[in-house]
C-alpha cells in the first residue's frame, strides 16, 4: 500500500500523484454505465501535458494514486538526500526490481531513494542506458512533485534537490567497489564490477548477463584462494587465480581458454586409414538411377508442353 493512501478521499480540484505519470488534478468524479454496471470514475488530468485518465473509484488505492506530498515530506526528502548514504545494490536484477517497486509504490520517498541510489552508483561507474532513463524519469517525477508541494517553479525545485545532492564548491566523490562491500563480507559483485566487461565483450550500455557456470566456479576458486590469504590488503578487480603447483619436470599446463570447448575429434579407426572426407553442408545430391552398361545416355528431359502427336498418314 503506498504511503499516505490509507484514507484517500478525493474531490474535484484535488492535486494527486499518479504513479509513474506525475502530478494530476482531479477534474471530475462521475458515474458512468459500463457493460450494464454503474461505476464511479475519477477523471484526472495530468498537469504537465493535459493527458486525461479515468480510473474506477475502487481501483484508485490499488493503483497507488496518492495526494501530493506536503512541505514536511519535502523536508524529509532533503534530509534523506543530504545523508551520506553509500548504499547501492550491486546486483542489477535486485536493483531493477527494488527500483520498480519504489517508483510505483514508494511515494515521494521512493522516488528520492531511486535518485539517490542511482546517483551513488554513478559515482562508481557510468549508468547503463536503461538505468540512466530510469534516473531521468525518477528525477523528473521527483522534481515535479517537489515543485507542486512547495508551490515553486520546477527549475527551483530541481536546483533545491541538486544543491543537496551536489553541494556547491564540492566535487562528487569517486567511489570504489570496496566501498559497497557489505558488512557480512559478501561482496555480491556482478561480473561487470569485477572488470569482466572487456573480457566478455559486452556493450557497456547493456545489462550484464549472469555469470556462467564456468565463471562462477572460477570465482569460487578465487574466493577460496582469498580466504587463505587473510590479512593481506585487498586489491581491486578480479583477484588473481590460485596457481596449482606442477610436479617437477612436468610441462607447464597450457593456459585455460575461455568460451565453448572444442568438439572432440573422432579417433581414426585404423592406422594408415584415409581420413574421412569432410562432411558437406546443405541438401545431399539426388541418387542417380542405375545405368545399363553400354547404353546411350538418356536425352536430357525437355521442359514445357509435350509436342502434339501427328496423325498417321493415309487416314482421312
Amino acid at each position: 500500500m503506498p504511503e499516505g493512501s490509507a484514507s484517500l478521499q478525493l474531490a474535484v480540484g484535488d492535486r494527486v500523484v499518479y504513479p509513474n505519470q506525475g502530478v494530476c488534478r482531479v477534474s471530475a468524479i462521475d458515474v458512468k454505465e459500463v457493460a450494464g454496471q454503474k461505476l464511479t470514475f475519477v477523471t484526472m488530468r495530468r498537469e504537465e501535458d493535459g493527458a486525461v485518465v479515468m480510473v474506477p473509484e475502487g481501483k484508485v488505492l490499488s493503483i497507488g494514486v496518492r495526494k501530493v506530498a506536503s512541505a514536511e515530506d519535502v523536508e524529509a526528502i532533503f534530509s534523506f538526500l543530504r545523508s551520506d548514504s553509500d548504499k547501492a545494490d550491486l546486483d542489477w536484477k535486485q536493483r531493477a526490481r527494488t527500483n520498480l517497486d519504489r517508483m510505483t509504490q514508494g511515494g515521494i520517498m521512493g522516488l528520492a531513494e531511486v535518485v539517490k541510489g542511482l546517483q551513488v552508483l554513478s559515482e562508481l561507474r557510468p549508468l547503463p542506458t536503461k538505468e540512466r532513463e530510469l534516473y531521468d524519469n525518477a528525477r523528473h517525477l521527483l522534481v515535479t512533485e517537489v515543485a507542486a508541494a512547495l508551490g515553486t517553479a520546477e527549475v527551483n525545485a530541481e536546483d533545491a534537490i541538486d544543491i543537496v545532492l551536489f553541494p556547491p564548491g564540492r566535487e562528487r566523490p569517486k567511489r570504489t567497489a570496496a566501498e559497497f562491500q557489505r558488512e557480512d563480507g559478501d561482496l555480491d559483485l556482478d561480473s561487470d564490477l569485477l572488470g569482466l566487461d572487456s573480457d566478455l565483450d559486452l556493450p557497456s550500455d547493456e545489462e550484464p548477463s549472469e555469470p556462467s557456470e564456468e565463471e562462477s566456479s572460477e570465482e569460487g576458486e578465487s574466493e577460496e584462494a582469498e580466504s587463505s590469504e587473510e590479512g593481506a590488503p585487498k586489491k581491486r578487480g578480479r583477484p588473481p587465480k590460485a596457481k596449482t603447483e606442477a610436479p617437477e619436470g612436468a610441462e607447464p599446463a597450457a593456459p585455460k581458454k575461455r568460451g565453448r570447448p572444442p568438439k572432440p575429434k573422432p579417433e581414426a579407426t585404423a592406422e594408415g586409414a584415409e581420413p574421412a572426407a569432410p562432411k558437406k553442408r546443405g541438401r545431399p545430391p539426388k541418387p542417380k538411377p542405375p545405368e545399363a552398361e553400354g547404353a546411350a545416355p538418356a536425352a536430357p528431359k525437355k521442359r514445357g508442353r509435350p509436342p502434339k502427336v501427328k496423325p498417321p498418314e493415309g487416314e482421312s
Binding site: S122, L127, R139, L150, A153, E154, V155, A160, I163, V164
Partner: protein, 170 residues
C-alpha cells in the same frame, strides 16, 4: 530558432562565434536578434526571474527560444535547501532564459565557460534535467569543474534534446 538578445553591449564578432557554437550544439539556427533594455528600477544584482518576466521589446515566434545575455551580475536564489549560485536561469520547457557573463568582462575572456552555461540554460528550455556526467553541459553549474568543461552534451542529453527539437518542429 535560438534568438540571442543582449541587454548590454557586446562585440559582434564574439556574438557571431557564440551563435555558431549554439548552432553546432543544438542543430537549430541561432542569431543575434537585437538588444533590449533592463526595466527601470532594477539594480544589480538583478533578480533573474523578475527580469525575465518584465523585460520588454522581444519579438519571437512560437517555437523560438530566447536567450537574454547580460554582463550584470544575477542575484543568487534562496531555495528551501540552501542558496543556489545563479549564473543563469531558465524555466523548464518555456521559451526564455537569461545568462550573465559576470564576473568576466567580455565573451572572449570566458568564451568556453559562457557557452557551456548557455547550453545548460537552453537545455532546460528543451526540458533537460541536470545530468550525472561531469563532462556534460547539463551537469549542475555550481560545481567547481563545470567552467573548465567543453560546451557539449552527453549522449543521453543530446539525444533527448534532439528528440524535443524534432517534436517541436513537427
Amino acid at each position: 530558432m535560438i534568438r540571442v538578445v543582449t541587454l548590454d553591449p557586446f562585440d559582434d564578432k564574439q556574438l557571431a562565434k557564440f551563435n555558431r557554437t549554439l548552432y553546432t550544439a543544438f542543430g537549430v539556427g541561432s542569431e543575434h536578434s537585437g538588444s533590449a533594455e533592463v526595466p527601470a528600477g532594477m539594480s544589480e544584482p538583478l533578480d533573474a526571474e523578475k527580469l525575465m518576466d518584465e523585460v520588454q521589446g522581444i519579438r519571437s515566434y512560437k517555437d523560438d527560444k530566447v536567450l537574454l545575455l547580460t554582463t550584470r551580475k544575477l542575484k543568487d536564489r534562496e531555495l528551501p535547501s540552501g542558496v543556489a549560485p545563479t549564473a543563469g536561469f531558465a524555466r523548464q520547457g518555456k521559451d526564455r532564459a537569461i545568462l550573465t557573463i559576470a564576473p568576466h568582462k567580455d565573451l572572449e575572456s570566458a568564451f568556453k565557460a559562457v557557452t557551456r552555461h548557455a547550453l545548460h540554460q537552453l537545455g532546460h528550455l528543451w526540458e533537460l534535467h541536470h545530468c550525472l556526467d561531469p563532462r556534460c553541459s547539463m551537469y549542475p553549474p555550481w560545481t567547481p569543474s563545470f567552467a573548465q568543461g567543453e560546451a557539449i552534451f552527453c549522449t543521453f542529453c543530446r539525444e533527448k534534446s534532439e528528440q524535443k527539437i524534432r517534436l517541436a518542429k513537427s
